[in-house]
């Protein structure tokens, strides 16, 4: 059975000015990140990255972002491969994208056939 690919979209709550993590917390985040990356090395197709500002374009209009309700912002994306949605959801749930309170990751299958 060939694996399916999934797009993971990370969102965090829109806060005025989140308190930056301390160096100790960064150490911890870094260690957790690498533990996760190693554990799911086979599932991670593309680490993706952060998403910056953007623009919505339609046939006759262009709007500058952000685009969804201001209470949350899309922070980043990545692509994983898995046998099922359940499996892909596990990779996403344990990812750093869910680490901050209020953050979530949306997992969507990329349907190619």
């Amino acid at each position: 059975m060939t694996k399916k690919t999934y797009l993971c979209i990370q969102r965090s709550p829109q806060t005025d000015k989140p308190q930056p993590p301390s160096p100790s917390q960064m150490e911890e985040m870094f260690a957790k990140f690498h533990a996760w990356k190693e554990k799911f090395a086979d599932s991670i197709v593309d680490m993706g990255g952060k998403l910056g500002d953007g623009r919505v374009v339609s046939a006759n209009d262009t709007t500058d972002g952000p685009f969804i309700e201001t209470k949350e912002i899309v922070g980043g994306y990545m692509i994983v491969q898995a046998d099922s949605m359940e499996e892909a959801a596990i990779v996403a749930r344990e990812s750093p994208g869910t680490m901050m309170p209020g953050s979530s990751v949306e997992v969507r299958e990329i349907v190619t056939s």
Partner: protein
């Protein structure tokens, strides 16, 4: 390079090294810009390294990034011209003729910062907070937890130190040898304070206490390795820290409870710390000053080298406490000496040392005073006094762990007899 190659506390220690190094170059009046730049460089490392991996020389990467961030912030503030020269100097670190930006340079920056914050105009609690923030890389919330105080309080202390340091016209690099020597006792004092904040804390989280002790040892080691910091007192201080840390894990019973000295498994004591501590103690035995660090290191050494509790050379311990009383008179030293005398001779002799002594309020109101009296009276068969002091000690115990230890040690009928270390 992989993540596992990063040394423990890499982010926190790099924070301290970079803040010190850049502040030395830019001047302390730019401390806040420098701190922001370093914080931002670390954030940037977190983002980049997680995706692209850790670069071969992560310290150099961070240094470059932080330096550029400082440059950016100066540009934005229109201060670019004024600082062009000092920044150009920093930027030139790749040139072969410059010897300044080597790793030991960052260490020297740390040391300079340590001396700078031990300014006599800055109260000790502010010095301590400043060192924890700037040299050790803890943030305000983390400091508040470790020192049992509020974040507001930490801010106040920090700002007091910062505003004093901002006023200083003297650049960090320009402390003369005489000034350095004059300030050294203040530096050792703050490191001692940092260590005891960890070692004597009744904080329930062992790793947090241990971390403060490790930080104190790291900075004292730095002091001992540099000509500006080397003195018999510095060596004795380092010895005492190592000899205490050697026994730290063995004080815990594995379920967060505390163990008495005689209950501890001596094979759990850290041999490497003991050997290193003894070596520094030997090195400290020169010059004509016998400091409190010498006395305290001597006591710790006696405990470390005794094969069993019974084989402790209590006479030597007593001698050290006597010397300590001479150099730093404190009724607490007398109290400790009484405990040692009770072991060396008998409880009655120990008790005799305390008779007629009027403890100051801070000591009379502490569990230690009541616990020792409860113990000594109990062992002398003075059951009424023993019970009374036992109740007081239990009431004053600062944490459940200490209370448990006292309950075990001071049984209500006065049958068991040992004093917490």
């Amino acid at each position: 390079m992989t993540t596992t190659d990063l040394v423990a506390h890499f982010f926190r220690h790099e924070y301290g090294r970079l803040v010190a190094l850049l502040s030395c170059r830019m001047g302390l009046e730019h401390l806040e810009d420098v701190e922001d730049a370093v914080q931002s460089a670390l954030m940037s490392a977190l983002e980049h390294w997680t995706v692209s991996g850790v670069p071969d020389n992560p310290s150099a990467w961070l240094f470059r990034t932080a330096r550029n961030r400082v440059l950016d912030s100066f540009r934005q503030q229109g201060r670019h011209e004024r600082h062009l020269r000092s920044l150009a100097e920093i930027s030139a670190h790749n040139k072969a003729d410059r010897q300044t930006l080597l790793p030991e340079d960052a260490e020297e920056g740390l040391l300079r910062m340590l001396f700078a914050c031990c300014d006599e105009q800055i109260p000790a609690p502010s010095q301590l907070v400043f060192a924890l923030k700037t040299l050790c890389g803890f943030d305000v919330r983390e400091i508040a937890i470790r020192l049992f105080t509020t974040q507001d309080n930490v801010y106040k202390r920090l700002n007091r130190a910062r505003s004093r340091l901002r006023q200083l016209s003297q650049p960090l690099a320009d402390l003369t040898a005489d000034e350095t020597t004059a300030r050294r006792p203040a530096v050792t004092k703050i490191l001692y304070l940092l260590f005891t904040e960890g070692y004597l804390s009744s904080h329930t989280e062992f790793p947090l206490r241990r971390e403060l002790c490790d930080e104190a040892i790291r900075l004292t080691r730095l002091l001992a390795s540099h000509s500006a910091g080397q003195s018999p007192q510095t060596f004795a201080l380092l010895a005492l820290m190592l000899l205490h840390r050697a026994r730290m894990s063995a004080r815990e019973d594995g379920s967060e409870g505390l163990l008495l000295l005689e209950e501890q498994d001596r094979t759990q004591w850290n041999r490497a710390d003991i050997e290193e501590g003894l070596a520094w103690l030997e090195r400290s035995a020169s010059g004509d000053t016998f400091s409190r660090y010498h006395a305290e290191a001597g006591i710790a050494a006696e405990h470390c080298i005794a094969a069993t509790f019974e084989q402790t050379r209590w006479d030597r311990v007593i001698e050290c406490y006597e010397l300590l009383e001479h150099s730093n008179a404190s009724p607490l030293h007398r109290l400790n000496r009484a405990v040692a005398v009770a072991e060396w001779q008998d409880p009655a002799h120990g008790l005799a040392l305390l008779e007629g002594m009027e403890p100051p309020a801070w000591l009379a109101g502490s569990y230690q005073w009541a616990a020792v009296l409860a113990d000594l009276h109990g062992r002398c068969g003075h059951n009424t006094e023993a019970r009374r002091y036992r109740e007081t000690a239990l009431r004053l115990a600062p944490s459940p762990h200490v209370r448990q230890l006292l309950q075990r040690r001071l049984q209500a009928d006065g049958t068991q007899h040992r004093e917490p270390e």
